[in-house]
Amino acid sequence: MTKVLTDARSIRIKGRSFLALVLSPELPLDWWLGRLDDLASRSAGFFLGRPVVLDVADLEIDRKQLKSLLEELGQRNVRVMGIEGGRPSLFEPGMPPAMKGGRPAPDFEVPEANPAESPKAGKGKAAAPVITEEVQPVRATASIIVREPVRSGQSVIFPEGDVTVVGSVASGAEIVAGGSVHIYGTLRGRALAGSVGNASARIFCRRLEAELLAIDGVYKTAEDMAPNLRGQSVQLWLEGDSIMAERLN
């Protein structure tokens, strides 16, 4: 049977980065859990509403121990969203998914017990400050410059920021940037700007012959592009859910 799609619009799929807390348990686990309890007692709700990833790369445990560790964490209201660095044999259905490709970020400030207040910590548990300050998203200031033509079949993927190509982007090549895309040459392939959810990203090119353009998940194929933009110097940006374009110069 053939399914008929009544709506021609495709689903919008986006990438997004979150900063997760990474816990790296150490052996023996009882001792480590004790230290975790100590931290929690100093700042109730430290783990509340925060995504937590469990790093078990340097931990010598088996599946049973991992399962009980997850249970222990669950009892402490630590919700594990993923497990990093685990062997495939460690996992079983129902466990948080395996994660990889994480990039390091600055360490979280663990609230230090104030020496003067620490004796009162037991009774003043509710008064302990709940860490509320938001982790500031790192502003994408990074950029890379590609000094050669990007050939068919090649991808330049740079989620951290802008991509500048001094040369052409061939048909069948793609540029994926977290920020804006600048092409000092002919853009014949694909350019995807703001790929990690940046609606203010733009695409600039000296000559537009692109197969596909996308900003923040909104895309346009060659067929949808205004024919008078072909072969022109163009910049493209996002207004609401539509890609706007204008000729440069």
Partner: protein, 271 residues
């Protein structure tokens, strides 16, 4: 100093084998010891174009697997003392080529020859990547047509990534050989023009070979174009291309333009 040249294109049927034979013969005519190596295991054709199909005993795969010594597999051309062929096996497939085996054969060929011309199979798989692996120079054969140009572009990207030179941080010298060019049709817009292809691929041009019946005739005769009739238009184009490959500066002519005689022929045929 031996030079390994890979003749490649990505797309099939653009003239790799014809160009390998023609350039190989042209270089050998310069009295430089040349071997043409067929990497198209399973679909060999270079032996036919070279007119040596009835003299093949051992092949590249036999040498790689140690069943034969390299001198046993090399076939000397009957017309040129300096031209040799290392045929491919027709009964095997590309998996018979091993990276170590190819490396060994290439190292040995480098000791005995000035030019080693590798005829790459179409595609970007094992056969093609092994053919380009040890290249110092690449001749990218392209037809003035969009799919051929895009495939060539892909191959250029691979030459910058998957060759031994690229892995050492050096570059493979790349040259564009435009084949089956018809100036009249390019002018009419049926074909890409030379400048369009150069703009897209941005590598130096080594020659423009016109579309010609002489090429088909030479293949059926079992002679490289440059040996079959060295005065034909494609032969002249290949001879010039070989001189450029050897480092000479030869002014570029676009066949069918500024050549009254040829222009007439092409004009009539296209009409």
């Amino acid at each position: 100093m031996a030079k390994v040249v890979v003749v490649t294109s990505g797309k099939g049927g653009v003239g790799k084998t014809t160009s390998t034979a023609a350039l190989g013969a042209a270089l050998a005519q310069r009295n430089e010891k040349t071997v043409v190596v067929d990497f198209d295991v399973g679909l060999r054709n270079l032996d036919l174009v070279m007119g040596a199909e009835r003299r093949v005993v051992y092949d590249l795969v036999n040498v790689i697997q140690g069943d034969a010594k390299l001198p046993q597999a090399l076939i000397r051309d009957k017309r040129l003392d300096t031209l040799f062929l290392l045929p491919a096996s027709q009964t095997r497939d590309k998996d018979s080529l091993t990276p170590e085996g190819v490396e060994r054969v290439m190292a040995e060929l480098r000791k005995h020859f000035d030019w080693i011309i590798c005829d790459s199979p179409a595609g970007i798989e094992r056969g093609a990547t092994l053919a380009m692996r040890h290249a110092d120079l690449a001749v990218i054969v392209t037809n003035p047509e969009v799919s051929s140009v895009r495939d060539s572009d892909r191959i250029i990207g691979l030459l910058d990534a998957k060759t031994e030179r690229a892995e050492r941080g050096e570059r493979v010298e790349k040259h564009l050989l435009l084949t089956r060019y018809d100036a009249v049709r390019a002018e009419r817009g049926d074909m890409l023009k030379v400048d369009d292809v150069l703009e897209i691929l941005s590598i130096p041009l080594i020659g423009i070979v016109p579309e010609s019946m002489d090429v088909l005739k030479a293949s059926n005769l079992g002679a490289p174009v440059t040996l079959a009739d060295s005065r034909s238009a494609p032969a002249l184009a290949y001879l010039d291309a070989a001189r450029r490959l050897a480092g000479e500066t030869v002014p570029m002519t676009i066949p069918g333009e500024k050549r009254g005689f040829l222009g007439k022929i092409f004009g009539r045929r296209a009409a």
